[in-house]
Amino acid sequence: MTATAPIVRLDGVEKRFGAVRALSGVSLDLAAGECLGLVGHNGAGKSTLMNVLSGVLTPDAGRVSIAGQDVTGGYSTANAQAHGVRCVFQELSLCPNLTVAENARISHPAIRGFGWRGQARRLIGNKLGEVFPGHGISPNDLVGDLSIARRQMVEIARAFAVTDRPARVVILDEPTSSLDSVAAGLLLKHVRRFVEGGGTCVLISHLLGEILDTSDRIAVMRDGGVVALDAARAFDRRSLVAAMGSVTEAHGQADAAPKRGTAQPVVRARPLKQPDERELTAHAGEVVGLAGLSGQGQTELLVRIFDRAPGTDVAGPVALVAGDRQSDGVFPLWSIAENIAVGSLRRFKGKWLLDEAGITHFAEDWRRKIGIRTPDVGNPILSLSGGNQQKALFARALGSDARIVVMDDPMRGVDVGTKQEVYGMIREQAAKGRCFLWYTTETDELRNCDHVYVFREGIIAADLPRAEMTEEKVIHASFREDA
């Protein structure tokens, strides 16, 4: 093991998705025999960077070299595998219709020929036993029948297993998010063993405790760049949090008078797992933010409010603005007008048929009000850009008689200009007495909210009025105190 030459060198790597700059010139060296911890808030570019390193994404600019060899040109997943770069992705990537052993075969092409099933069973069984003693998984189990935690164990064991190709660099993207604390501890111990044996590990996690305990060095990412990189000893929890968020003051806007305490709330809801008495309340005319890392139970609570599930108390009709436009939002074969009017069809019911002229007039009205960029609302919805499609979905919700609008991270993939327009629209509608519940993964957007609830692991972890809300507090509440 040469300690001097880096095993992986990323040099000025850039990646754009449309107008969004996901990586802006990242340079990073990985040495053999070290564990690099990688932290950052949502959308800081961690996963994009690791996708570049594992060959899933090709960088727009910059160079990737492995063991001193420039591999930028024609770098692919197959190539990365051959160089010994393995990745355990955040979203599980096993085939649910295959057995554990068969899944091992998928990523280890060296297992073949007569008796390959036995080889695959031994490979994955031994590695599972090594990393997670007492795992209780049989190599013959169908992956689709396993719990999420066990699937994650299989995937981790598969990444560390060695056939004819070395496992030089293993990237673990939030590996412990679906493991219990015992299994997580076993994994982190294995990471240390692997690193002490000369391997390289990249550990991405939002549990700062495990990052601080397991890593040799820590890199902090923000807005697509590495903003801090030092030995793990040099950081503590507080300095990591500080490095992750720009600790700017919540500027201006704090003028809105608090609407709390005066009126009855229109929405009250408690997350199912909430241990204490905290609950989410929202009043007429308020914009309430649901913050925290993505997938911490915000969407579930919004859907429960929309469904008026038991445990929620909702006064008035509710409209939902979906975040995942393609699957939950637009009717792709319909026109813009139909997509807008579908939220209030009852209004256009004639004696037998729908009032087509009324629908067009209504949609035209909203097109002007919120500036959907199209010459004709009769055009198909897919003729619009993503941001304008999202505006049409807003028009659908705002055009309905709903007094409460729940929004499930609606600004995903929307450009900055459109965002500003929509923010203005939300404030204007709130001033007219509507109530907005807004789940967002972008901390900047929380500045538009009167009150923010920070979610962590399915529960409300913090309850911050506008006056007390700072980015640092939000980030702090998003990460577990004891971790």
């Binding site: 197959a78 595998q81 085939c95 295959l98 068969e102 075969r105 390959w116």
Partner: protein
């Protein structure tokens, strides 16, 4: 004790047993209605038309395995039957080349569907008219003749066990070993379960799709040849109903439309079950016009049982 037995017979096992049990139930009913079908000759008559259907069902299964659907397999089998009854009989070399070329076209269709991200239903529906048109061009009026060797293979009379049973077991066995047991077959099935994962592990989804479509074309061609071997002549419309029969056969045999969950043995059993449904009706002295309806009824019955089993599983 009851729960122990419940654990022993897992829902997954029950689901796997459903296709053979439904086939057995149908067979027993037919034997009861018409005891003479139990003879060697009776079984031969009862089952020989199931062989081309089983081959077409296997072809459809390869397509379903990668989350696509082939609406042209019936027309394709008809075209292959027409080529078998004409070119393969008259000028064998031309016939072989034509059939091999068609398998190649199938592979290219797989590539087209993958690269352009087209819905396979649309592409194959369009191709079904192309296949049908070509079949009419090759054989404008019903006729032709089966090549001697295919004819003698399909009318083989092995001792003890009738040929259709041997053929069905052989087809199911070969495809089972190739797709379910071999290392490469595992990769092919994985592409149906989670294509992104396959791509990340460095496999080419394009190549996998092309392989699966080529295999479908190959088995479709075999189906056409087997059909001509039985009927001794062909017609451009001879196998049009195979499209829906093959899809129903795969599903009846425990396969699913998405997710790469297929079973070659189940598919063959499903195909045989559907083929027997017609005979079942004639033994009941019902009008054979009801045949499609009866096949549908069997399908609904078996799928309803499967849903019940899955519900039981979810409740546990």
């Amino acid at each position: 004790m009851a729960s122990q037995i419940g654990n022993l017979i897992s829902p997954r096992l029950l689901r796997a047993l459903l296709p053979p049990l439904s086939l057995a139930a149908l067979l027993v009913t037919i034997f009861w209605l018409q005891p003479r079908t139990q003879s060697y000759f009776g079984l031969n008559l009862l089952l020989n038309l199931a062989i081309p259907i089983a081959l077409a069902t296997i072809a459809q299964m390869f397509i379903l395995c990668v989350n696509e659907l082939d609406l042209s397999i019936g027309a394709f089998v008809s075209l292959c039957a027409c080529i078998t009854a004409t070119w393969l009989n008259d000028t064998p070399l031309l016939g072989v080349l034509a059939l091999a070329g068609l398998v190649g076209v199938y592979a290219l269709l797989g590539a087209l569907i993958h690269l352009r991200n087209l819905p396979s239903i649309v592409v194959t529906l369009g191709m079904s008219f192309v296949w049908l048109g070509l079949a009419v061009l090759v054989l404008p009026t019903p006729g032709g003749a089966a090549p001697g060797w295919i004819r003698s293979l399909m009318t083989l009379k092995p001792p003890l066990v009738p040929f259709p049973i041997i053929a069905a077991v052989a087809i199911a066995g070969v495809v089972h070993v190739g797709l379910m047991r071999s290392a490469f077959g595992t990769v092919l099935r994985g592409a149906g379960g989670n294509p992104a994962s396959l791509a990340r592990a460095g496999w080419s989804i394009l190549r996998i799709k092309m392989t699966m479509f080529a295999l479908a074309g190959f088995f479709g061609a075999l189906s056409g040849m087997a059909l001509v071997g039985l009927t001794t002549s062909a017609d451009a419309n001879i196998a049009l109903r195979y499209t829906l029969l093959s899809i129903a056969g795969v599903i009846l045999g425990g396969g699913e439309f998405v997710g790469g969950r297929v079973s070659p043995i189940g598919a063959v059993i499903g195909a045989v079950t559907l083929a027997l449904a017609g005979s079942f009706l004639s033994f009941l002295r019902l009008n054979p016009d009801w045949q499609i309806g009866a096949q549908g009824a069997i399908l609904i019955l078996v799928l309803a049982l499967r849903v019940l089993i899955s519900r039981g599983e979810a409740r546990r």
